[in-house]
């Protein structure tokens, strides 16, 4: 039995209303590459944030032992002092500073208050050589590619004399060649004795580099797998998704009609990096009374697809055609999309959906003020507004002290109801629901499901994006599987299983 270098024991972390981690255990041996695998929201990143001190000691329960001693990290500096360095998915580099300045940010090569620039850039060049990056350390971060930036992050970790390197989905935004480079670098560092923990969705990459895997599901450790020859991907997939499907979804007898909305050959490019395709030749249709699901891992391009369709509110260089009831339409702005009775219920209700300091009433009517206004001056009939918004509050079952209550004072579930109510107020026929149950409790989820079934029964066409496979299986008549900007599969709701969908995603 090998000695463990790092052990996290019985880690439990509770956020208001949610238990993100429940008695999670992680054991990492010295000199290995250890992979952590799990669905979106399984708790991988939370666990790593506990380890690196982003969530300080005492905000969680459980023990962390490192090299035999107990650790209590109060801040990131504490864990870095022990040699535990995390590289987040969103890189923490300052774009307008040089590589060298970034390498030693917070760790400056200085005497007193004066920075020694020769040492900074000289040392930086040495570290860059170590990670195989052929750039001058005086180059600005904004001028190098994301793949190279990832290497700079690793060099930065090395500069902190790292013992355990944690990488959170390091290849998520890299192309194949850069990914391979990065993984090879990890293998090379391993030979020099470095221990790494890698969080990844990509099973082929894990098979390539990892020595052992910890699988996390719904905030608990499911199992650990040691590498003996090859990993069995089916075993991993089963462990990731193997949840009991209980009767958490209201029954509905689908009454599906003609094709309501159709998207053909849809291409979308990334707004900041126009060469990158975010949606690649997507074909989609949804029928009257149908709930269609879009499944995919984080970064697959689901939200980007929905937003680009809804009034081109995401992306550049959008190509493709949209049809409503067989008639070609150009939904070139959100206004026009709303006029064509298309609605998009955002995944980010606080950032993109609601106006938090304003009242339930103002939020409810915002997307279709024409319903309550008259005349040339577009005068708002406030009495009518009060009456109609009450109707929506009642039909959604929103719990609020009154229409005047600012939505920021409502619970997540009630905010979500206000958001959905707002879009129902716009009287759409075609609704995109992006993660409609994210961050709300089980009871509220059930109510949202019932509302969705009600909309489908009224003959609306629903497209539901969700990271929770059981939810898609429980709600959808048909499911599209998306991965890296492409639809890689389509499956009937009745035939779909979690294993089938997950393997479509991972093996594409």
């Amino acid at each position: 039995m090998a000695q463990y270098m790092l052990e996290m024991k019985n880690i439990t972390k509770v956020f208001p209303g949610v238990k993100a981690l429940d008695e999670v255990t992680l054991k990492v041996k010295e000199g290995e590459i250890h992979a952590i695998v799990g669905e979106n929201g399984a708790g991988k990143s939370t666990l790593m944030n506990v380890l690196s001190g982003v969530y300080p000691y005492e905000t969680y329960t459980g023990d962390i032992e490192f090299n035999g001693g107990e650790c209590r990290f109060h801040r990131i500096k504490d864990s870095e002092a022990k040699g535990i360095v995390i590289i987040h998915q969103e890189l923490a580099l300052v774009p307008l500073l040089s590589i060298g300045e970034n390498l030693f940010l917070g760790n400056e090569r200085a005497k007193g208050i004066t920075i020694n620039w020769d040492e900074t850039f000289g040392k930086a060049d040495e570290y860059l050589k170590l990670v195989g990056l052929k750039e001058s350390s005086r180059t600005l971060i904004k001028d190098i590619s994301v793949g190279k930036q990832q290497l700079v992050e690793i060099a930065k970790a090395l500069a902190k004399s790292v013992k355990v390197l944690i990488l959170d989905e390091p290849t998520a935004s890299l192309n194949e060649k850069d990914s391979k480079n990065l993984l090879d670098l990890l293998l090379q560092l391993k030979k020099q004795g470095m221990t790494s923990i890698i969080i990844s969705h990509k099973l082929n990459e894990i098979s390539y580099v990892a020595d052992s895997i910890t699988i996390i599901r719904d905030g608990s450790t499911v199992c650990e797998i040691e590498k003996k020859g090859e990993f069995n991907e089916d075993v991993i997939i089963k462990a990731m998704v193997g949840r009991e499907l209980t009767n958490r979804f209201p029954q509905r007898i689908p009454n599906i009609g003609e094709i309501m909305f159709e998207v053909k050959h849809w291409f979308v490019h990334h707004p900041l990096n126009p060469e990158r395709l975010v949606c690649d030749d997507i074909n989609l249709d949804v029928k009257r009374g149908e709930i269609v699901g879009i499944s995919g891992l984080m970064g697959a391009g689901r939200t980007e697809l929905a937003m680009s369709i809804f009034g081109k509110s995401y992306g550049v260089g959008i190509q493709g055609e949209t049809f409503i009831l067989g008639k070609k339409v150009n939904l070139k702005s959100p206004q026009i999309a709303i006029e064509h009775k298309v609605a998009y219920v955002t995944e980010d209700r606080k950032g993109n959906g609601l106006i938090l300091p304003q009242s339930v009433r103002d939020n409810t009517t915002l997307a279709k003020l024409s319903r309550i206004s008259t005349g040339k001056t577009q005068r708002i009939d406030k009495d009518l507004e009060v009456q109609l918004s009450q109707e929506y509050i009642d039909s959604m079952g929103t719990k609020c002290s009154g229409q005047e209550q600012p939505v920021e004072n409502l619970s997540g579930g009630n905010q979500q109801k206000v958001l959905i109510g707002k879009w129902l107020f716009a009287e759409p026929d075609i609704l995109f629901l992006d993660e409609p149950t994210r961050g709300i409790d089980v009871g509220a989820k059930y109510e949202i499901y019932k509302l969705m079934n009600g909309m489908a029964d009224e003959g609306k066409a629903l497209i539901m994006i969700s990271s929770e496979l059981p939810e898609l299986l429980g709600m959808c008549d048909r499911i599209y599987v998306m991965n890296e900007g492409k639809f890689v599969g389509e499956i009937d709701g009745k035939e779909a299983t979690q294993e089938k969908i997950m393997s479509m995603m991972l093996k594409s």
């Binding site: 809804f310 009034g311 509110s313 702005s333 959100p334 206004q335 999309a337 709303i338 998009y344 955002t346 950032g351 993109n352 959906g353 609601l354 106006i355 938090l356 300091p357 304003q358 103002d362 915002l366 997307a367 279709k368 003020l369 024409s370 206004s373 001056t377 577009q378 005068r379 708002i380 406030k382 009495d383 009060v386 009456q387 920021e408 707002k422």
Partner: protein, 389 residues
């Protein structure tokens, strides 16, 4: 009942602060034997002195609503448009109505120039209007060639700085009649809106509290016009200010376009996804600011009976201050026309009251600065306390 009184007080904090400040000054001024803040003549002075601030603050509020954006150039627009008015009317002797229309269009155009860069190119408003501040002031002084143009013809001055009636003999009777008329219109609007609510079966407020409010407001209106009547009558500028305030109040509180301003300032991303063209909202805000600055320029030219190179200096700060004292959020999305009018009057009363007390002009500035900070601190602290609950 107690709760209700408290909530009425809470909704009208700035109004109560204004009344308190006025009471304090009245006490200090009368005991010191310096006349009276509330004398007929001084009330008329207050109106004449502060009309331009109210007009500008109304436009500034629209800019601030879009997301805490301000317009630093309006003082310079006042100077430049005033210079144009001086040249057209005094130097060239143009028909005053034609000249006024040209000046209003000119101001709107200057506003649109800034609005284009801010709304469609998305250059920060602070930078665009700082540039406008320098640019328009420079052009204004070039037009004036560094000298003051005066005097404006009498028929021009009459448009903005005369009184109704024009002869002071019937001032009291006319004022009283207008006051009663105003009360009549006010009561009619209140009652008919209540009737409409009752007829359609909507909720409406208790009759008792409505009557209390109507009696109170009617009394204030009557007192106010009584005071005006005791001096020269109703200042024409008051009519202009009322027309502007009431129309913009209608715009912000009761129209779809007005609602878009609040939505944009509250959360621009959500507003865009709700189908609101936020570029257009910004464009309207700054173009309109130019229009109101032009009106203000005409008013100021009439009041001082001249177009001067230094006209409008510091006006932007008065308008911004009035909005923030009146409770507009520095991040946009909240604030009312009523609030910024109260803010403007409060600033005016501070100026006027301290002048009557003979306080040094530099101290006046210092006090106003502190009041501005105090008002915003108070606003933010009370919001934080509410959030904690």
């Amino acid at each position: 009942m107690k709760k209700k009184v408290l909530s009425v007080l809470k909704d009208n904090t700035m109004l109560i602060a204004l009344v308190a400040v006025m009471a304090l000054f009245q006490l200090l001024i009368t005991t010191g034997g310096n006349g009276s803040l509330l004398s007929a003549q001084n009330i008329t002075n207050l109106i004449n002195q502060n009309a331009y601030v109210i007009i500008l603050a109304v436009g500034m509020l629209l800019c601030i609503l879009t997301g805490g954006n301000i317009d630093l150039a309006i003082g310079s627009i006042v100077c430049l448009v005033g210079a144009a008015a001086g040249i057209l009317i005094v130097t060239l002797g143009m028909n005053i109505y034609v000249a006024i229309v040209i000046c209003l269009l000119f101001g709107t155009l200057l506003g649109a120039w800034q609005a284009y860069w801010i709304a469609y190119i998305r250059i920060p408003a602070f930078i665009v209007t700082l540039s406008g501040m320098l640019l328009f002031r420079g052009l204004g002084n070039l037009l004036l060639n560094g000298v003051t143009i005066s005097p404006f013809p009498a028929n021009y001055s009459r448009l903005f700085s005369s009184y109704i009636p024009t002869v002071s003999a019937g001032a009291f009777v006319v004022s009283l009649v207008v006051g009663l008329l105003a009360i009549g219109i006010y009561l009619f609007i209140e009652i008919s809106s209540r009737n409409k609510k009752v007829k359609k079966g909507y909720d409406c407020e208790a009759l008792s509290s409505m009557i209390v409010r109507m009696v109170f407001i009617s009394a204030v209106i009557l007192w106010f016009f009584n005071k005006l009547g005791q001096y020269k009558g109703i200042p024409v500028i008051l009519v202009w200010v009322l027309v502007i305030v009431l129309s913009y109040n209608y715009f912000t509180s009761s129209t779809v376009q007005g609602r878009h301003f609040y939505a944009m300032g509250g959360n621009e991303k959500a507003a865009i996804l709700s189908g609101i063209n936020t570029n257009k909202v910004l464009f309207i805000a700054y173009t309109n600011m130019g229009f109101l600055a032009a009106i203000s320029a005409l008013v100021v030219a009439s009041r001082f009976n001249s177009a001067t190179p230094s006209a409008g200096t510091g006006f932007e700060l008065d308008a911004i201050g009035a909005c923030f004292i009146g409770g507009a959020s520095a991040y946009g999305g909240s604030g009312t026309i009523g609030g910024c009018v109260i803010g403007a009057i409060l600033m005016g009363v501070l100026n006027n009251g301290m002048s009557l007390l003979g306080i040094d002009a530099n101290w006046q500035k210092a006090v106003k600065g502190l009041v501005l900070l105090a008002a915003v601190v108070f606003d933010i602290m009370s919001k934080k306390r509410a959030a904690k609950k």
